[in-house]
Amino acid sequence: MIFQSAWKNFCRQGLRAILNILVAALTLVVAVFMVSLVNGFQDQSSKNLKKTDVAGGHYRLADFDILSPTEWEDFAFVTPPELKKISSDEKAEVLVQQGQIFPQNRFIPVQIRGIDLKQSLLELPLNSINSYKGDSIPAIIGTKMAKKSNLLKGDFVILKWRDKYGAVDAREIEIIETVRFVNPRLNDGVVWLGLKTLRDMTRRANESSWVTVKSDRGEIKGLSFLIPNVLMKDVIELAKHDRRNSMILWIILMLLCCISVFNSQMLNAFKRQKEAGTLLALGMTPGQLTRMFVLEGSFTAFGAVVLAFVIGVPFFAWFQTVGLDISHLKDSTIPVTENILLVFDPKQIVNCLVTATLMIVFASWLPARKISRIDPSRALVGKAF
């Protein structure tokens, strides 16, 4: 009976009810869109990081820090037999050392990164190093690095480094390829060499800075295993930050929607005080009256959820065919290069829907509580407020 009354009263609101539902539905669609876009961003960046650098994790010395280049030389280790024996499609040994290049009489500090060229765990376009027939040291650099240093394919440049025993050495290297890496961290500041070449140059036989593996191989004495989430901490933090920002925007939109529902309910309460007085006179309890008004407001929430599906599903389906163009970010340090697609997390969507529903129900409960406390004798003559 209360449900039926609430439904009929809700329908009577006409355009006001429709507008409230529309605003709430659009807010829900925007919320799901924003959350899923951040997911898409995180998904693509972590996928790119995983396939070019992180894979299933790194074995490395405990205090190694990629952001402290002056310490790299102190944190190389001889690859232990437990890792050595892993096949090259499940591991990649990597050695990083500081160096400098001198293109056109300029001085540019670089990371010299040697990687096992037989590995197939990471997707790195370095195969041309294997097929090099020249007399120099073959090297590959990223397109951003090439642009910064004015180096082109086929150019020669002096590379200077220090070996394990502190001796400084320098040789000419040939840039055999400039490659666009999907991971911008590899696209700039890195000179790629074969692992064996770098080990020979630095007299670090069998040494690595880290060994990338497909999956955790258990504890290995002297080494720490860093899981992908630790290695991608900065990207995850960035996504978390974005998620927080989008949440703030969503809360603002949701509050506007709740104010609209609250406003409608207040107007209802004011306009329908005689009706409320009549219902109390007929024997409806204040609790039943509150439930009826809250239910009327709740129909906005349920209507919004339904309409959000009606609007959202085709919109999201279309969006997945075009994605969000982020070509303007290609030179940034964020590891995203392609169009971003939405990644839906059912738990997040349910959270959004439940939160929105609860907020709208709360917004309709506040005026309902007020009307249930009215003096019926005054409400009957329209003077309750």
């Binding site: 009354s5 009577r12 009706e275 009549t278 109390l280 409806m284 019926p376 009957l380």
Partner: protein, 232 residues
Amino acid sequence: MLELKHVEKIYRVGVEDFHALRDVSLKIEPGAFLAFIGPSGSGKTTLLNLIGGLDRPSQGEVVLEGRSLADLNKDQLAELRRKKIGFIFQFHNLLPVYNVYENVLFPLLLNDEKESKVKDSVMNLIKRVGLEGLEKKKPTELSGGQCQRVAIARALVKKPSLVLADEPTANLDAENSRAILELTSELNREFGCAFLFSTHDEKLIQYVNRKITLDDGRIISDIDGLNGGTKS
């Protein structure tokens, strides 16, 4: 059935107290058909509101069927109204989203009655008040007199022991007023429930068998037409 003991009602208007009712005491027997008469502001509506449990007296006591309304909380008062008291208002106060049938049915649904069980009695009552064929009409599609008949049916459908009618004919023309009064008079006899009117309509006063006159919140006369004597 109903007893008011030294009832007073004081409203706060700004910084001053307004005495709507002053020391009102009276007894009403079951099946009574009486009217509270008096000018505007004499306390008629206030008295009906107190009897109906819509308001509480500032002093004194209202006792209905042996229960003091002062002892009842809001939910218990609602239950009392739901089961024992029917209301008829000047502007009929029908629920605008419901049609005639649903408006009459509504009090029964509030009493948790199943529609299938009470449908016939609702239809009979609609027929009895002369609205047969108009069951599906919404209040906006009815005349004032028809609306008031719906309100009467709504008040009687739960078979209350008391019907409170606040100026039921004030908004009707002479013919409709007469028809409504005849109908209520017949239903009073048929249903055996007490009808308490508040009115200043002289025509209505001719139909009742007891007239209680109020002025400035006091009962100044109580004439029982059936017994032909003054009670107080």
